[in-house]
Symmetry: D2
Subunit: 282 residues, 4 copies
């Protein structure tokens, strides 16, 4: 299975870039499933039902969230009835929405997408290691027919590289891929871990990189310098780079055969993989 | 001027890889100056005088430190008399050593190297924005002959991408490059900011990437899972990737003409720039 | 039931003071049960089996721990077989020892003692609110004979006053008392909350108050000033103040009828309650 | 000199209680100067010019702020021209207002009031140890006539007891008193340090103690339990306890001769010192 994961979509610039880039990316990379993090899609803070619908229409199959999940309040009733929108699984029991989705692709293969949130330098939620383990137990890789998953993608929304790498190794051999989000900067550490799990610490954002993590740079910088309130932070509006990760998995084992970064448009050096039919990056 | 910056060297694996990779890299990339962060060179924690001497002998011109600066106590008298070893400039007044060095390359050009440490999710030191501004005022780009610098490299040792990007914009047009360290993961956001300053959020580490930020993955992962003491953390010993950044500057303006990541060996996808004689990446 | 809770015992000074003060305090205050936090008893860091035995011999019935639980490694096998020593209940499943003890006093009444640890500004453990709720469900106040508890004491080992007050209100009417530890400074906010639960944010430490939270003041202060390593921190050795809280409960409802601070010896203003036979402070 | 310091005034309940309690307290305790922290006076968040005027009219001589300094924007122009309103001295250079005031009491004695903010678990400002030292150097205790101060009060607005105790010892013998604020809970550790400086870790708040640090307890507790947005936090409106600290100093040395807590009204145990004419608590 081929999975395209897109990092945090920030504001209109990010949304527009994803909408424009996704059709050609779908043709060029031929992903079976597209997953995108939408926690900053609504003017940098949260996401609205309307934006979710637009992203689904643009070709996103599953939207994940993060620490900005609830910044827009009307998403709360929406997530309760939209299984394609998931939030970190390690929110407390009783939190609206689900932390994972077991979906079926066009060819009938089952993909489990789980999001968890890190705790280092972040709000203390339930233990992401324990929670992700519980979530994947419900649909293990290469599990019995009708119960297992052909592939499992874990979106680790976290700040610290140590916690991200640790959960990568913790899940190595048990999931297809662990990909990170939240820092809004793509990392250049894509690799397949020894046990067969594809890993990249952060996908980066889909947003304008002439900014401070996607927000207009003047006020965001001033907050560090002056320690005074500034005008409200808002998303930078320059051309966005669509940042993501392409992963190829072996349907039989569920493990990864290739992983490569995707960067299209905007200020960052462009890259996109050419996976051959055998699923190896060339 | 062409500057090669190498990210945090972790343990023996990192040291060996740097020692082996630097001579061919010097030939291939022809840097005028090599700067490397050595804060994790001594078994993951700090650096010793002996290791400093080895790195200088291997072709490193300036060593920077970070939050692990003082993990090895014998570095304290050493830094007091070795100007090529610098520590974050925003340690309190009275801290041993200097936070910058104004050096001269083989062609007589002056390069100011400054290290500052971020404060977000880190120990609260003096304001890195104010301190770096003070440091560069002593040798401004394109300053009067004999007082200015031909190039300025700022090593922002920090955790948070927001603080790193903010200091990049804060210094844009006033320094040649702002490069980050500390997360031990290379970022794929190399760019020249609008004002002419080269920027990359993190250079990554020179270390084994089958690890948790360079340390043996078993115990480091277990600390997240069990919340119990484990055996002492020690550096992973597999083949290291040498991670760095190559920057080309215009001697007249001091601003950057090119920036590109360098990754050699180990588990990460290899890359190295080919800068043409005009200093543009091709 | 009358319960005496003693705050974090720090080093030899704290241990000696508790050993000397406890017999007269037992005579004067007539507690049915004495609970003490021992996480700093062993030279400031953790506790040893030998010190546990000494504290039990001195009249402590239950010892709690905290974030320093495992600083002395030989406590790990010890806690596995000593139910009178408990650690925070919100450590991950599989952690050695228990997070609560249901004990019986000399008159056959059942007291449940639970310790949980806060997460704000501390290591992220499991949710203390959810965990404490689960623990008290096993032996509710005024529960069916043979299953309920006559009194429940919750030791909230936490940094932030907001989290401590929140858990106080969360448990108000469901436990006899919520008392805090960890900051090593006694608070003057003892009260009975509207639902009948006694509350004090922090019991304070049993240690020398001419110190930085019990440790020798010179090096501990220098760490803030110089941001350099200092000599190892060790407990201050001057006369210790024994700091604690006395709580009186109604055996029928399990709710509190009185709460008052106890401070004996050392540098702080001495205080000790005089509860009359009806259990009200006078 | 006799100084009354009142802790963080929270919302209308706190303001009303201070206004009502201050006249009788002035008669009973006869302070020469009253200093109060007003950072939460305006509905919990910041302070307005109007509330400042009301507090001055009620008998407060100096108002300090804290991390909530700028929550109400119209205080920014106000502080620029009102020297009796001060903010933490360790905000960056260029911050509106001053971090200290050298005032003269009715008998012509000079009192320096300085506020600094801690950095542990708080926003990283400039070094409070270095900044407070610089501030007191301008008007040292027992300094030359016309330049020194008869008394110096330091308001350490901070979260961590360790940092508060450290700055107490750092300043011991050089200032009259170090009193803390910000946690909104009074501590019971009033003492005169060996060098003669009066010290108490936190004055507590002037607010309703049936709350979470002064805010309505329901939503504030729910934020810990559910990790979802709640209704806006607002100050609890029940009867407030006025919490403060009374300090007596020796005009000749500037050092403290007595310190005692003050608590009036609301839910906490009431206390107020009786200092005799020689300035000792009796
Ligand atoms: Fe984000
Ligand atoms: Fe995020
Ligand atoms: Fe570092
Ligand atoms: Fe490092
Ligand atoms: Fe403790
Ligand atoms: Fe503790
Ligand atoms: Fe406050
Ligand atoms: Fe505050």
């Amino acid at each position: 299975m081929r999975i395209l994961f897109l990092g945090d979509i920030v504001g209109r610039a990010g949304r527009d870039a994803v909408r424009d880039a996704l059709p050609p990316l779908r043709r060029r990379l031929a992903p079976d499933v597209v997953v995108a993090c939408g926690e900053n899609a609504a003017h940098g803070f949260g996401i609205s039902p309307k934006i979710c619908e637009d992203l689904f229409a643009a070709g996103v199959d599953v939207i994940t969230l993060g620490n900005h999940a609830w910044d827009q309040r009307d998403i709360i009733p929406f997530i309760a009835k939209e299984p394609r929108l998931i939030r970190p699984a390690n929110y407390p029991p009783g939190t609206p929405g689900a932390g994972s989705i077991l979906m079926t692709d066009a060819r009938g293969r089952r993909l489990l997408v789980v999001q968890v949130m890190g705790r280092l330098f972040m709000d203390p939620l339930d233990d992401p290691f324990a929670v992700v383990q519980r979530e994947i137990a419900a649909a293990p890789l290469a599990g019995p027919p009708g119960r297992g998953a052909h592939a499992i993608l874990v979106d680790m929304h976290a700040e610290a590289t140590s916690e991200k790498m640790a959960i990568g190794h913790f899940l190595d051999g048990r999931v297809s891929a662990v990909v990170g989000g939240h820092t809004h900067v793509p990392t250049a550490d894509a690799q397949i871990l020894p046990g067969g799990t594809a890993y990249q610490s952060d996908a980066g954002m889909c947003g304008d990189y002439d900014s401070v993590i996607g927000m207009v740079k003047g006020p965001a910088t001033e907050r560090f310098v002056r320690k005074m309130p500034t005008e409200r932070l808002s998303p930078a509006g320059g051309p966005a780079t669509v940042c993501g990760i392409l992963i190829e998995t072996d349907d039989r084992t569920g493990l990864a055969t290739a992983i490569a970064p995707v960067r299209i448009g905007g200020r960052l050096a462009a890259t996109a993989p050419e996976f051959d039919s055998a699923g190896a990056a060339s």
